[in-house]
């Protein structure tokens, strides 16, 4: 007979959505169990953005791309804390115009800036969201300089990092990322939540007034019985689990992300000193469609980016300190699908960029390159295979007006909208507070329920919505 765990609320997934849900409900006195497929690792179990991190914390080794032309590598975490353990830590509130779009088109109720304000503030306080108190990384300053020279307004984005009190005035504050394992997960445990790592939820079943999770732990069956379930497995695994459970209406049909193209910039001076510290400067001149910023620029990532330019013969080991990677990303109406594959635990993700997406990405890339030349870059290597090196702004005409599907390297780390929320039942999967349409006490409370791509780093939105929805469930909103 399968081992059984009984509780009032089962939270499946321990990323930003799940951890906030579990902590909020446990602190309200609910008997909560939080399941996590991955292991429970400390934040510092491995260097950030390293291959060791890929080994320990990435789902599928980071190798389940969105299939399409081009394929888009995407990054999902599989560990307690989810994406917060591996992301950049950059924080945004949801842009007001995005909230308005979600209210108008998806009929999401109680979703004004004022409605979300207490939830943003609570999460910001818990995560120590703040600007870097020390000097910014040189690569980030280049972004700021280039933007200002073009008359564009750069912004410094706050991060959820805790910085030590005593800092040498000339050193960059390294800070400690306030991921879920540093904040909401231990807080949930203190509030009485039981955390069960290493559990894969296979299927959800309704039995009378109870829900049942059919799961596997270390090869053995495990059953979790609860009055309510919050599915917080992320924008890929949440719809995959619901669809395995034959809950399919508007589930997994509208996956959105921020397709991102990168460029390696070479400067005269050394600008890459702390390669695991991502610069916080972003340029929102072309928002909401386009955003630009700094990307991880460690030597392995530079080497990876330069594989699009093998003929350039750049001596990375000698030059890497003068090099940095920047990105341009777009957000828009294109969506993809998540589907289960028979006999495979991994879902298939399909996403087809439109011609308009590829043209907008090209424009975004050109503008990013203009900014970098304005900042003093001497050479640019965009993520397009066989594109000649760009040595001046005059070379920008070499970038095709529409990025070529067969030669462009894209990626994304922001995934959402696969189970959109709202009262417009024709194309939403869950109601305004995350309850799956037609299923009492079954909720989605993670990135899946964002209605569209928000155009900004999404974790702030995910956490605020999760808190709001959990409090609504607890009748404390």
């Amino acid at each position: 007979m399968a081992e059984a765990i009984l509780c009032q609320v089962a939270v499946i997934g321990s990323g930003p959505g799940g951890a906030v849900t579990a902590m909020t409900l446990a602190s309200k006195g609910f008997d909560v169990v939080m399941l996590e497929e991955g292991p429970y690792l400390k934040l510092d179990s491995c260097p950030p953005f390293s291959i060791e991190e890929m080994r320990q914390k990435y789902r599928w080794g980071g190798l389940n791309p969105a299939m399409g032309a081009p394929k888009v590598p995407l990054v999902e975490a599989c560990c307690v804390g989810g994406g917060s353990e591996i992301n950049s830590g950059l924080y945004h509130r949801t842009p007001p115009e995005i909230l308005e779009l979600w209210r108008d088109r998806f009929a999401v109720h109680y979703l004004t800036e004022l409605d979300l304000l207490p939830h943003f503030e609570a999460c910001e306080s818990a995560l120590s969201v703040q600007l870097n108190p020390g000097p910014q990384p040189a690569a980030s300053i280049k972004m700021k300089t280039g933007a200002e020279r073009l008359g564009w307004k750069p912004i410094e984005v706050p991060r959820w990092f805790k910085y030590s009190q005593a800092l040498a005035s000339n050193s960059i504050a390294p800070g400690i990322r306030q991921s879920m394992t540093e904040t909401f997960v231990p807080a949930a445990q203190t509030a009485g939540c039981r955390i069960v790592p290493g559990v894969r939820a296979d299927k959800l079943e309704r039995t009378g007034t109870q829900w049942q999770v059919r799961a596997v732990r270390q090869g053995e069956p495990l059953t979790i019985r609860a009055e309510a379930i919050f599915v917080c497995c992320g924008a890929i695994e949440t719809p995959a689990l619901l669809r395995r459970s034959r809950i399919k209406k508007n589930i997994g049909n509208s996956l959105a992300f921020h397709p991102t193209v990168k460029v390696v910039a070479v400067f005269e001076d050394e600008i890459n000193g702390e390669p695991t510290d991502i610069g916080a400067q972003q340029v929102k001149e072309f928002s909401p469609r386009v955003s630009m910023g700094c990307s991880i620029s460690s030597l392995p990532y530079l080497a990876l980016a330069m594989t699009d330019h093998p003929d350039a013969k750049v001596n990375l080991r000698r030059q890497w300190r003068r090099m940095s990677i920047y990105y341009a990303m777009i957000s828009g109406p294109t969506t993809g699908v998540v589907r289960n594959v028979p006999l495979s635990p991994a879902p298939l993700i399909r996403y087809s960029l439109s011609a308009e997406d590829l043209r907008d990405l090209s424009t975004a890339l050109v503008n990013l390159c203009r900014l970098l030349f304005a900042a003093g870059a001497t050479h640019l290597y965009p993520g397009i295979a066989e594109l000649p090196v760009l040595a001046s702004a005059d070379d920008l005409t070499k970038i095709p007006l529409e990025l070529p599907r067969d030669r462009t390297s894209l990626m994304t780390a922001h995934l959402f909208s696969s189970c959109p929320m709202g009262q417009a039942a024709d194309f939403t999967a869950v109601d305004s507070f995350g309850q799956v349409h037609g299923y009492r006490n079954l909720f989605v409370n993670d990135a899946s329920l964002l209605c569209t791509a928000p155009g900004v780093n999404p974790q702030g939105t995910i956490m605020a919505l999760a808190r709001r929805n959990a409090l609504h469930f607890s009748k404390d909103l």
Partner: protein, 135 residues
């Protein structure tokens, strides 16, 4: 030949093809000195194989099939499998697949190159190392 010995032969062939391919790609990126080709890249190969095992099966199987095809693709022209040929011929084949007009050929080399490069440049001390005489 039993089914099991056939499967073992295929696994052995794939293993040799993958390790040789990873070693060649690593050597091409590590330095231009032919002496470097004798260096050990077992750690790099190990990372690539580990990642292959973690991938969804519906993706890793086509990659392994393509790798098998890569390994035999010049058998009739050159008279031997990829992993048995001299290094210069192997590097020529890697380059020709990398530049191929056929998308899946390019994708295969890009897949291995990405993982090899990540592992190679993640080796401890790599960031501090400088190689004399590189291009």
């Amino acid at each position: 030949m039993s089914v099991f010995s056939g499967r073992e032969a295929m696994l052995s062939y794939l293993s040799k093809t993958i390790s040789t391919l990873c070693r060649d790609i690593a050597a091409m990126h590590d330095c231009s000195d032919p002496v470097c080709a004798a260096a050990s890249y077992d750690d790099v190969t190990e990372f690539v194989v580990e990642q292959l095992r973690k991938m969804p099966v519906f993706l890793s199987r086509p990659i392994l099939l393509a790798t098998a095809v890569f390994g035999v693709s010049r058998l009739f022209l050159e008279g031997s499998l990829f992993h048995n040929r001299p290094q210069d011929q192997r590097c020529f084949q890697v380059e020709s697949w990398r530049r191929s007009r056929f998308g899946p050929s390019r994708d295969l080399i890009k897949f291995y190159t990405s993982l090899v490069v990540l592992a190679l440049y993640s080796r401890p001390g790599t960031a501090a190392k400088e190689i004399e005489g590189d291009g």
